[in-house]
């Protein structure tokens, strides 16, 4: 029971990190109608920048710079590539983002080599225990920060001008244009938000229990794709639920792998995709997705 609770708490904390990534993914899809496959490498970029600037700038400074660089990089991708291809088929745009992803990832992998860069989290290595349930302090902080950010995001999405403009534009771009809502601006802002969320997710993904910044972080970030897709690509609430679901499922599968040895070791990393497949078989447009929109 203690093991289960412990795994559950760890799963939820991993899930909130996935939710941050998936939210960015969904926001970009809503605003620009792009399935952004470059999201993983943007996240790795954020982690890399935080790691290499932390010696000179200290932890907080490095985090701010890392978040800013990721947001700027995301906006550059939008302005230089996506915005110029507006109106192109969804498939072509998705393939373009795969190209962008390969370029960014290749450069980062070249720079990283086989090193594992360390991010000096002030809470490094510590863990908290409560009634026998243990969680690394990093994951604990992640859960709190992610909950605050996700809360802020949903408030802004519901009540701010940006949120209303974004939802109007996502529903009917031409009519929104008739009210003077500029799709370009809405879309650029969406990429900024997505970049910020990805960088914050990166900050926690490279902390304990993960060893540090290495190309494998990219593979971990990929698990947020099934989270966004199973929630429904155009549903922000779906991204949150999907993130939590994937986080919990993955952590449970990893924790109980000794009891399920017939599946082999390392089964946890496959679980996100299996959960996604099962859910898509039952609900092809995801848990909360709109039918037409998710036929990518």
């Amino acid at each position: 029971m203690t093991q289960f609770l412990s795994l559950l708490v760890n799963g939820i904390s991993l899930g909130t990190i996935y939710a941050l990534i998936a939210l960015g993914f969904v926001v970009i899809f809503k605003a620009s109608e792009v399935v952004n496959f470059a999201h993983g490498s943007l996240l790795l970029l954020g982690a890399y920048v935080i790691a290499v600037t932390s010696d000179a700038l200290g932890f907080l400074g490095a985090v701010l710079v890392g978040v800013a660089v990721t947001a700027v990089a995301a906006v550059l991708v939008e302005r230089l590539v996506i915005n110029r291809l507006r109106g192109a088929p969804v498939i072509s745009l998705a393939i373009v983002t795969i190209g962008v992803d390969i370029i960014i990832l290749t450069e980062l992998v070249r720079r990283l080599g086989s090193d594992i860069l360390n991010v000096p989290h002030p809470w490094a290595g510590e863990s908290i225990r409560f009634a026998g349930v243990g969680i690394s302090l990093n994951r604990g902080v992640a859960m709190v920060v992610a909950a605050v950010l996700i809360g802020l995001f949903f408030l802004a999405f519901k009540y701010s001008n940006w949120g209303v403009a974004m939802r109007a534009s996502a529903e009917d771009g031409e009519t929104a244009a008739l009210m003077g809502i500029k799709q370009g601006q809405v879309s650029a802002l969406a990429w900024v938000v997505a970049g910020v969320l990805a960088a914050v997710a990166a900050l926690f993904l490279v902390g304990s229990p993960t060893p540090g910044v290495s190309p494998t972080v990219y593979a971990v970030a990929l698990a947020a794709f099934p989270a966004a897709i199973l929630g429904g690509l155009d549903s922000t609430g779906g991204a949150l639920v999907g993130g939590l679901l994937i986080g919990i499922a993955e952590t449970l599968a990893t924790g109980y792998q000794d009891e399920m040895l017939f599946l082999g070791r390392g089964f946890g990393t496959v679980v996100p995709y299996i959960v996604m497949l099962v859910i898509l078989l039952v609900r092809p447009s995801g848990l909360f997705g709109t039918r037409e929109l998710t036929r990518v």
Binding site: N161, V164, A165, R167, A168, E171, D172, E174, T175, A176, A177, L178, M179, G180, I181, K182
Partner: protein, 262 residues
Amino acid sequence: MLSIDALRVAYGGAVEAVRGVSMDVPDGKVVAVLGSNGAGKSTLLRTISGTLSLHRGRVDAGSVRLDGADLVGRDPGKIVRLGVVQVPEGRRIFGRLTVEENLRAGGMASKDKSAKAAAQERVYDLFPVLKERTSQRGGLLSGGEQQMLAIGRALMASPKLLLLDEPSLGLAPRIIGQIGEVIAEINRQGTSVLLVEQNATMALGVADLAYVLDVGEVSLSGDARELARTDEVQRLYLGHESEAPQERTTAAPRKTLSRWTA
């Protein structure tokens, strides 16, 4: 206020939808544009509101001027800020946004908070039914209420000139009458109106001036009441003749929504 001069518009560089149209909307008047499907009515409105490029259309010649300022080539947001706002055909309200959010979206081009608050009050005065449903999703409103919301949304930008694209489309006769009264009231409050319609009875009832478009050209124009008495308008648009059904069935219906004609 708005003057269109020898306007020619084509889609994809080939299909000419508007062929040399000249038209004036004088300050404070309601101007109706009649015409069957494919006459170029929607193209005309797209040209004025700046959304032509979204449909791969291009202005080949002529000009559209608002108080002397050329509107051709400007982006839709700028045109809204200059005071020209379009209510799109088929209402196109944001179904997943609430009534209040729809209105908020309509005021997005302006930063003037007090002007927006005043505009919202005006909208709720004109359409009390919207005030009762502020937090309801737009998609749950009836057709008539959606049309009111679409007009209210446009009024949120405090337009000098309101462009209406077939507001009677798919509505019951009684509601069409209400829409006509609303248009007259909006005009009384000082907004000029360009009303594109297939429902000639309603349009000629509220309009001061009218134009009839036929395959991209103006075939008739003049005082709305006089125009309503001419044989051609009586025959083609008001249905006072024996061969009327034949005339109507030859034009293939483009829309899926049903339409009520007098």
